[in-house]
Structures are given as structure tokens and as C-alpha cells.
């Protein structure tokens, strides 16, 4: 809310300069965002929090200033002269058909006003506070709104059918044009101010164009009312209309100020526009909220804050805030909650907050001792850190991309889910409408972005969630699967990623056997992708992006991608290795190179060797594939090493040679492999 320093000072005669006042208010909970000099005044922009509707006015902020500076609020005197010869009841009437939406409605009539510009002093104040002067009648309602926070509305009585008011729900299909020219479609959930025939205002939100005050207006109906806050908020949101009035009604206005503000406005209208105020008013009230009493214990205050506050200080604070004390004992104080704080101060804890914010948070000392307790790092956190730092050490850069993506992008790869992604009801941009089912699409996006910014070699990873739907329609939360996803555009990228994954598995001491099967998943080229399994459970996939997909995604080169279920790895990780005894006896190695047909795959050879159950075979490790001069066309030479070790003795050369020969024989039998 924008307020005028001069106006405020009139209401609370403190002796602080504008920025000093701004600082004091800010440190007590009313954040003053800016304080700028303007002509002979200062303009303060106050950020009023949702719990302090009482501060949406100059009198409200004056109360705060008074409490902080030890002064009193000087409210303007309201003296109105009614004309006994004209009675409200003879001129108009008010019927409230929906008291649940409008618990209090008042109306007064002023006859024979002269509409014109409002005086310079009022216009200046309105402009300072960011409002546009219109005419003396409308300006008075805005002035009173800024002054005491009560929104008011005025109608040209000549334009009210039968010159009377009905407060009711809108009918189905009813429409109305508001003063800002919008045609509004109304519904029965909305409260309207109507005349005998039609709606003339959307209650608490905005007045109608047809009945607004114009230059020729002579008789004015002045409305001051209170509406149901959640209803005003719903109506305002449904119509996409908000105003200085609606934002105050949403938060709740002071029930005791409704009629008073009406009198104040009448006083100003008579002063500025002349006319005669009919005696009496319509005052339809459904509820009469009783002032609540709340008790605050001194011990509780001390315990919650960690600070003892003197009873005398507490007293002074409440009195400064115009919170009346009805009872005080050694242990507690009981107060009556003023009407303007009724929604905010309802419990002991609310009073404790009032005391400490005025007293000062800086008076609370930091406790010197906090009880010791143990907090261990979870296995999950340890696995994530280990993987992250390991991959960084291997040259991969970590990226963080958006959870929300465009649907087309979501369908590039779906390693975890066959159906569609979860959609947002209210996305705010067309390219972030669905929750991603994979990180791989985003990695490709990061690659494209960096390629167009001159980056050459890219190795990157993301360790983040994908959102696999369960039964969304039945409000079942999706599975938020933590995935580790890698991308590289190196020549031998596919093998680089497989190697990186193997290193991660080793660093986490993952238990279980890793297996792979050829699979055509998403963006990968045929024959250039694998499905990965850990103990027959789906672990993930790896592959090289196909030519067509690379072209479609406008990605130069064909990067390799890998994505695994990191939650599964965490489940299977042992983090701390179980030590095995160091072998007592040395191993013996034999290198073998065999020539086989091109179509033969390493995994087949390996399986064959392991299946041959050669004794004492400790390890088999691939180290080279060769095509060239010494190898016939259509064939290749695969070289690998065999490591033999016995646990109880050193193997002899003859034993090892015999074992090697058995392996070679098995390969010859299975694949027609010949030694090179």
C-alpha cells in the first residue's frame, strides 16, 4: 500500500523523519519497500502482509506508528448534519437476501449534490497514494478508503430502478458492465448489489457502469458494507477482477468501522459537494461479532521466546496498540481484542508475537547450548555424493534441467513408462506443460545449447528425478524415480558411458550381476543400444542417438546416452566394501587372440569361455579388436587375457597351458574361432 508521510503524521504526530519512520515500521513487521521524497511529502510503499488487513489504511498504519513511538492516534472528528425534513425510509430501502454473503449493509442518501472536481488538497493526497481523481463524490469514497480502510461505493439514485437496493446472489446468466468497461458474466455463487431489476454492482469488487456518478448526478446513495471474505476472493478470481475494495474485503474489514466510515464520507460529501443528508440510514446487520478475550501467560511468553519480558513492558505494548487490558495477575494478562484485529489475534501465541515484534527480536539472546544429537548421513545421500563426485573426477560436468518439458520432448525416450507423461492443468508456458519421463531429452537440449555457443567436447550427467505416473486420475502420486543420466559426444562414447557406469557400480560396491540385452529404445539406432539389467531387474539403457533422431532434434554428431535407475543402485549398494583376503598364491596370465566372423559378439565369446568351466579361471578381460592385413575379410581378431589362480598352490605352466587350450578348443567348437 502506498501512503503519504504527511497524511500519516497528521494522524499520528510522531517526530521521526520519513526514512527513520520507514525503518521503525519495517523492524516491527510492516515492511516499507521504498521511501521517496515527492514535492513537500514523502511516499512510502508499504508491503502489508496478508494477516494485517488493519494496516491497509492510513489510520491503521498510524496505529502502528503510535505504538512504536509512544504517541496516540488523532482520528478526524466526525460531525454530520442530518436534514430532519428528509428521511431515508421515505426515499429508499435496502433488502439483504443473502446475509451469509453480506453480513452487514448500510446505506445513506444525500440529495441535491453538485458534482465537480474535488479540492486540491484531496486530489494531491489521492495522487500521492497512486489513485486518480475522478469527481468530488467518487474521490470522497476513495479518500475514506485510504483513510480508514473501509471501501465505499456511491450510486446515482436516479439510475437505480425504483431507487432501492437489493443485496442478493446473481441469477444464472446475468451480466453486468463494470466501471472499467468489462462485460462480466455472473453466477449464483456471486453476491451482487442490485436495484429492483438488475445488478448495479458486483458486491465488494467493482461498481457497474450504468449507475456510476456522473456530472449531472444530483441524488447519491452511499453504500458502506461488509462482505464474506472467501466469497469475495472467489468472485474476484473467477471474474479476473480485483480492486482496492476487493483486496480489503478479502482480508476482512473492521466491523466497527462500517457505519463510522459511512458517516465520515457523508460529512466530506456535504462539505465538498453540498446537498442535504437524509436523516436515518439503512443498517441491515446479520452478525454482531463479540469482542474476544484472550489470555497470555508470562511464563509461556518466556518459554516460546527464550526471553523474559517485564509485565510493565507488556502492558505498555498492549496499551500502545490500543489493546485493552481487562485483567492482569502475576502470571498472566487478559485483553480484549480490538475489532480491527479480530481475524489476526485469536490465540495466546498471537499476543506473544505482538509483544515480541514491538519489543524487538534483537532483544532475544541466542541460547548458548543446543542439545547434542547424532545425525548420520543416509546411504542415499552417500551414494549420490559418491556417484556425483566420481563422475566429475572422470570428466563429466553435472547439469540441472527442468522437470517440466514440452510433451513432444517427453516422448523421445521412455525407458520407464509406456504411457504418456503427467500434464499440468495450469502451465504457464507452452514448452513446460508435462512432467518429464526421462532426463535424456533434456541432456540433448543442453548439448544443442552448448554446441551453438561454441562448446566442443561435452561429457555431462544429471542425477535427478523423472516422474512416472501411477494412477493420476485417482490422485495417486507418481513414482519420483531418481535417475542417473549421462551424455557424451566422444568418438567412442558408447563404451565411455558403459565404462563410467561400471566405475559407479564399483565405487558404490553394488551387489548383483549386471547383464545386458540388445534393445531398441527411444532415440537409439538399431544395433547400437542395450537394455541393462541388474539381477534381472530393469536397470536402464545405453545407446547411440540414431541419425534420424539427431537430425530431428537438430543435434550435430551422434552423442551416446545412458540412463539408469539410481534408486535401484542405492538399494543394491554396499558403500563400505567387505574385505576379501589377499590371495596367497600368484596368478598366471595367458593372452589369447582368436579370429572369428564379424557377427560374433564379445559377450558371446565371453559366455562361451565361462561356460567351458575351465578350472581356476579367475578373470577374463577383453583388450583389443583388430581388423586388417593379417585377418581375412569378413572376420576380426579379438584379443583377451585369461587370468588363472589356484587358492591352494601355484599353478604350473603346463596346467595353465592345458586350460588355455581347453578354452581355445571351446571357442573353435562354438564359433569356428582360430588362433591368430
Amino acid at each position: 500500500m502506498i501512503i503519504s508521510y504527511n497524511w500519516l503524521k497528521e494522524l499520528c504526530p510522531h517526530d521521526l523523519a520519513a526514512d527513520a519512520l520507514a525503518e521503525r515500521l519495517s523492524h516491527a513487521g510492516l515492511c516499507v519497500e521504498t521511501c521517496e521524497a515527492r514535492e513537500d511529502d514523502w511516499v512510502l510503499e508499504v508491503d502489508v502482509t496478508a494477516n494485517r488487513p488493519d494496516c491497509l489504511s492510513h489510520i491503521g498504519i498510524a496505529r502502528e506508528a503510535a505504538a512504536l513511538t509512544g504517541r496516540r492516534v488523532c482520528r478526524p472528528e466526525i460531525k454530520v448534519a442530518e436534514d430532519a425534513s428528509v428521511r431515508f425510509n421515505g426515499l429508499s430501502s435496502v433488502k439483504v437476501e443473502c446475509p451469509d454473503l453480506c453480513p452487514h449493509y448500510t446505506a445513506r442518501v444525500i440529495l441535491g449534490v453538485k458534482v465537480g472536481p474535488s479540492p486540491e488538497w484531496m486530489q494531491r493526497r489521492l495522487v500521492t497514494c497512486g489513485l486518480r481523481p475522478v469527481n468530488n463524490i467518487v474521490d470522497v469514497t476513495n479518500y475514506v478508503l485510504l483513510e480508514s480502510g473501509q471501501p465505499l461505493h456511491t450510486f446515482d439514485m436516479a439510475l437505480l430502478d425504483e431507487r432501492r437496493i437489493v443485496v442478493r446472489r446473481a441469477g444464472l446468466g446475468e451480466t453486468m458492465v463494470t466501471i472499467d468497461g468489462t462485460q462480466c458474466r455472473l453466477s449464483p455463487e456471486m453476491c451482487v448489489i442490485a436495484d429492483a431489476r438488475k445488478p448495479v454492482a458486483i458486491a465488494g469488487v467493482m461498481g457497474g457502469l450504468e449507475s456510476e456518478i456522473r456530472d449531472a448526478t444530483s441524488d447519491v446513495l452511499l453504500e458502506s458494507a461488509r462482505f464474506c471474505p472467501p466469497n469475495i476472493r472467489r468472485t474476484s478470481r473467477a471474474l479476473g477482477l480485483s480492486s482496492d475494495s476487493s483486496c480489503r474485503f478479502e482480508r476482512g474489514v473492521d466491523p466497527e468501522n462500517v457505519e463510522r466510515a459511512s458517516r465520515r464520507a457523508a460529512q466530506l460529501i456535504l462539505e465538498l459537494a453540498g446537498g442535504r443528508l437524509a436523516s436515518g440510514l439503512a443498517d441491515v446487520r446479520d452478525d454482531r461479532p463479540k469482542a474476544a478475550e484472550v489470555t497470555m501467560r508470562f511464563e509461556r511468553l518466556a518459554m516460546v521466546l527464550g526471553l523474559k519480558v517485564d509485565a510493565a513492558d507488556v502492558r505498555r505494548i498492549f496499551e500502545g496498540l490500543e489493546i485493552e487490558i481487562t485483567k492482569q495477575t502475576r502470571s498472566a494478562v487478559t485483553v480484549v481484542i480490538p475489532s480491527w484485529r479480530a481475524s489476526d489475534l485469536t490465540r495466546e501465541i498471537d499476543l506473544i508475537e505482538e509483544v515480541v515484534r514491538i519489543h524487538g527480536y534483537d532483544r532475544i539472546s541466542e541460547t548458548t547450548r543446543i542439545p547434542v544429537t547424532v545425525a548420520k548421513m543416509s546411504a542415499r545421500e552417500r551414494c549420490m555424493r559418491t556417484a556425483r563426485h566420481l563422475l566429475a573426477g572422470e570428466g563429466f560436468d553435472e547439469v540441472v534441467t527442468f522437470s517440466l518439458i514440452a510433451p513432444g520432448k517427453a516422448q523421445i525416450a521412455q525407458p520407464w513408462h509406456d504411457g504418456g507423461p503427467i500434464a499440468l492443468r495450469n502451465p504457464f508456458s507452452a514448452d513446460r506443460t508435462h512432467l518429464r519421463l526421462t532426463n535424456m531429452a533434456n541432456l540433448l537440449g543442453v548439448k544443442s545449447f552448448n554446441a551453438s555457443h561454441g562448446a566442443d567436447a561435452m561429457d555431462m550427467f544429471e542425477l535427478a528425478k523423472v516422474y512416472v505416473p501411477r494412477n493420476t486420475a485417482a490422485d495417486e502420486q507418481p513414482e519420483e524415480k531418481l535417475c542417473l543420466s549421462l551424455l557424451t559426444d566422444r568418438e567412442d562414447g558408447f563404451l565411455v558411458l558403459k565404462g563410467a557406469l561400471a566405475n559407479v557400480l564399483e565405487a558404490l560396491h553394488v551387489e548383483g550381476s549386471l547383464s545386458e540385452e540388445p534393445a531398441q529404445v527411444g532415440p537409439f539406432a538399431e544395433g547400437e543400444s542395450l537394455r541393462l539389467l541388474l539381477d534381472d531387474r530393469l536397470l536402464g539403457c545405453v545407446g547411440i542417438v540414431s541419425e534420424s533422431m539427431a537430425a530431428e532434434l537438430d543435434v550435430d554428431s551422434r552423442p551416446a546416452l545412458l540412463e539408469v535407475d539410481f534408486d535401484l543402485l542405492i538399494e543394491k549398494a554396499r558403500i563400505d566394501a567387505t574385505l576379501r583376503p589377499i590371495p596367497k598364491f600368484p596368478s598366471v596370465e595367458r593372452d589369447i587372440a582368436v579370429v572369428v566372423d564379424e557377427a560374433v559378439r564379445w559377450s558371446d565369446l565371453r559366455c562361451c569361455v565361462l561356460a567351458s568351466s575351465v578350472e581356476h579361471l579367475e578373470a577374463i578381460e577383453f583388450f583389443d579388436v583388430y581388423r586388417g592385413q593379417q585377418v581375412p575379410a569378413g572376420k576380426k581378431s579379438i584379443a583377451f587375457s585369461l587370468t588363472f589362480r589356484a587358492s591352494d598352490r601355484t599353478l604350473t605352466g603346463e596346467e595353465v597351458d592345458a586350460a588355455r587350450d581347453r578354452v581355445v578348443a571351446a571357442l573353435a567348437k562354438g564359433f569356428g574361432a582360430t588362433l591368430r
Partner: protein
């Protein structure tokens, strides 16, 4: 005779090997003494001319000579080898070291790890909660009723009537408290979403870290102590923090936390617009209505909660001016961390 000859050869060899300065010289000496046509070979041949009964002795002497010469050779080789490594003109020790490329951990991960580590030393256990949440956890349980203007500050993305993307990590407070009894001491880092207009300080996707401590006798003084220790660990020993009264539906009393600007240590500079202070996050005592929602005895227990933006902390720590950098993933930027 063999003996005399042997001693002569050994003396000479000792002298010559000691004088040898290059591996070429050493090689020449090896050939001379131990080569196929070298002196040792000659001596072994000459044993044939010695009378039969003297041959064993002669043979032994020859062997001993051979051993001694071999030892001299190896020693000389070692000596020369070491020297030549040092003085070879082909080796340039000023060349830069061989470096396999280094990857980089994202600053958000770094910051989250650091925040978790600091709070762990204060006894806070790290927990997580779902990003796709229910309205009840995001609003009602946190004392934000339906149709209340307090919801304006927490605009959300909706999926169904009841499911949404959480707009703050405070949801995890409820998740923790509904399944456990006090004492509670947790921090919950995580991703949040809001349909905010994006600019240098606002993004629709961002990360927060939430803290919660509930027990008998927990006070605002404890909150101050924990946050001050945290700020000192994160920035520097001389950092100060201050609390300004504010409003959050789930805390009462509520406060905004400021810390002295790490760039100027509170004296005022461009980073803090001259004020010397920067916003760090929000905090307060847990509102009794929140305890009611999770079934805690609000008379017996008190607690405090705090929340900070991880991007915000990273921006303060690393001097980053624009929040959008975190999700842009420009490798030229990421590789600086």
C-alpha cells in the same frame, strides 16, 4: 700368474669405471671387460693353458674377477643412468603436467551438500519429501486455508483437484511430523515450483532447504543460535544475522532473516544496494495450528522452522547475479565451479 693378471685387471677396471662419465664410456668398458671377446673371456680361455691341477683354482679366481667386474659395471650404469636422466637435453621439466579433463559438480549440488553438512553437524538429519504433493500438505496442514489471501504468496501448478507441484519444502515438515513423535530435528532440501514470472531473481522451478526442530522447551533463542552458527559456517566468522518481524501462515512469531553482506561484511556495497544486509530466508516458531494438523500437543511442544532458497544461498556465496544461470547449463559457466 693368473692371480697377478687378475689383480691388475681389477685395479685398472676400478679406475676406469670410476672415471666413466657417460653411458657410451660405460658400454665401451663393458665390451672391453665382459664382452664376447673381452678380457674375462680371454682369461677363461687361458685357463686351458694352465696345468690341470691348477685349473679349479684358476677357474675360481676368474669367476671372482667376473663377479667383481660385473658389480663395477652395474654400479657405473646406475650412477650414469641417474645423472643422465637429470641432464638430458631432450627432457623439458617446465612442460605443463598431463591432465585428464576434470568434470564439475553443479553449484546447486555443491551448495546443497554444504548446507546439509553444516546442519548435520548441528544434529539435523537430512530427509526428503515428494515434489508432487497433495493440497492438504501444501496448504491446509500449513495453516493456509482455502480461499484465503495467504495463498496468493504460494501460487501453485495443479495436476488434479488435490494434487499439485509443491510450492515450498515446508510440506516435508508435515510429512515428518505425521509419522514421528518429538524430538524432531531435520532439514529437507528439495525442488519446488511456482508459476512466477521468470527474471533474474525468480524462476518457476527452484530449490529450497527447510529446517524443523521440535521438542519440549525449544525457543526463539534456539532458532537464533542455530541460524547464527549456520551463517558463520557458510560465510565467515564475522557475519551477523538479524530478524525482522514478518508473516508466514505456518509460523508464529514469524521473521525474515537477513545476514550481513558477504561481499562487504556489512559496510555497504553494490551487492547489497548499500544497506550492508542481504535477505537469507524466513523462519519462526511453528504455529500451533500446524501441530494440531499433525496431532502434536501444542501445549507440551514448541518448535522452530526455517526455509531458505538454495539458489539464493548459492548466489550469495558465489556472487552469481542471475538465477536463470543455474538451469541454463552453459558449460562455460558450469566449468568454473
Amino acid at each position: 700368474m693368473v692371480t697377478d693378471r687378475t689383480r691388475q685387471i681389477l685395479d685398472e677396471a676400478r679406475r676406469l669405471f670410476a672415471q666413466a662419465m657417460t653411458s657410451d664410456t660405460v658400454e665401451q668398458l663393458r665390451v672391453r671387460y665382459l664382452g664376447r671377446k673381452g678380457l674375462i673371456s680371454e682369461i677363461f680361455d687361458s685357463i686351458r693353458q694352465v696345468p690341470t691341477e691348477e685349473r679349479p683354482a684358476a677357474g675360481q679366481t676368474a669367476n671372482e674377477l667376473k663377479k667383481a667386474l660385473t658389480a663395477l659395471l652395474e654400479e657405473a650404469q646406475r650412477r650414469i643412468g641417474r645423472k643422465e636422466v637429470r641432464t638430458s637435453a631432450l627432457f623439458d621439466p617446465t612442460l605443463p603436467g598431463r591432465r585428464p579433463p576434470l568434470g564439475h559438480v553443479h553449484p546447486l549440488s555443491r551448495t546443497t551438500e554444504e548446507l546439509c553438512d553444516i546442519f548435520r553437524t548441528l544434529g539435523f538429519t537430512v530427509v526428503e519429501g515428494p515434489e508432487v504433493e497433495f493440497d492438504w500438505y501444501n496448504f491446509e496442514a500449513l495453516n493456509i486455508p482455502a480461499d484465503h489471501p495467504a495463498r496468493d504468496a504460494f501460487d501453485t501448478f495443479f495436476i488434479t483437484d488435490r494434487m499439485l507441484l509443491r510450492s515450498q519444502t515446508s510440506t516435508v515438515q508435515i510429512r515428518v511430523m505425521e509419522h514421528a513423535q518429538p524430538p524432531i530435528r531435520v532439514v529437507a532440501p528439495g525442488r519446488c515450483f511456482r508459476p512466477d514470472t521468470e527474471d533474474a531473481r525468480h524462476m518457476s522451478m527452484f530449490h529450497q532447504i527447510e529446517g524443523l526442530m521440535v521438542d519440549e522447551g525449544v525457543s526463539f533463542g534456539d532458532l537464533k543460535a542455530v541460524l547464527h552458527i549456520f551463517a558463520r559456517e557458510l560465510f565467515s566468522e564475522d557475519v551477523r544475522i538479524r530478524f525482522r518481524p514478518s508473516f508466514f501462515p505456518f509460523t508464529e512469531p514469524s521473521a525474515e532473516i537477513d545476514c550481513t553482506c558477504p561481499a562487504c561484511h556489512g559496510t555497504g556495497c553494490g551487492t547489497c544496494s548499500g544497506s550492508g544486509w542481504l535477505e537469507l530466508g524466513g523462519a519462526g516458531m511453528v504455529d500451533p495450528n500446524v501441530f494440531k494438523a499433525v496431532g502434536y500437543d501444542a501445549e507440551k511442544y514448541t518448535g522452530f522452522a526455517f526455509g531458505m532458497g538454495v539458489e539464493r544461498v548459492a548466489m550469495l556465496k558465489y556472487g552469481i547475479g542471475d538465477m536463470r544461470m543455474f538451469s541454463q547449463n552453459d558449460l562455460r559457466w558450469l566449468r568454473q565451479f
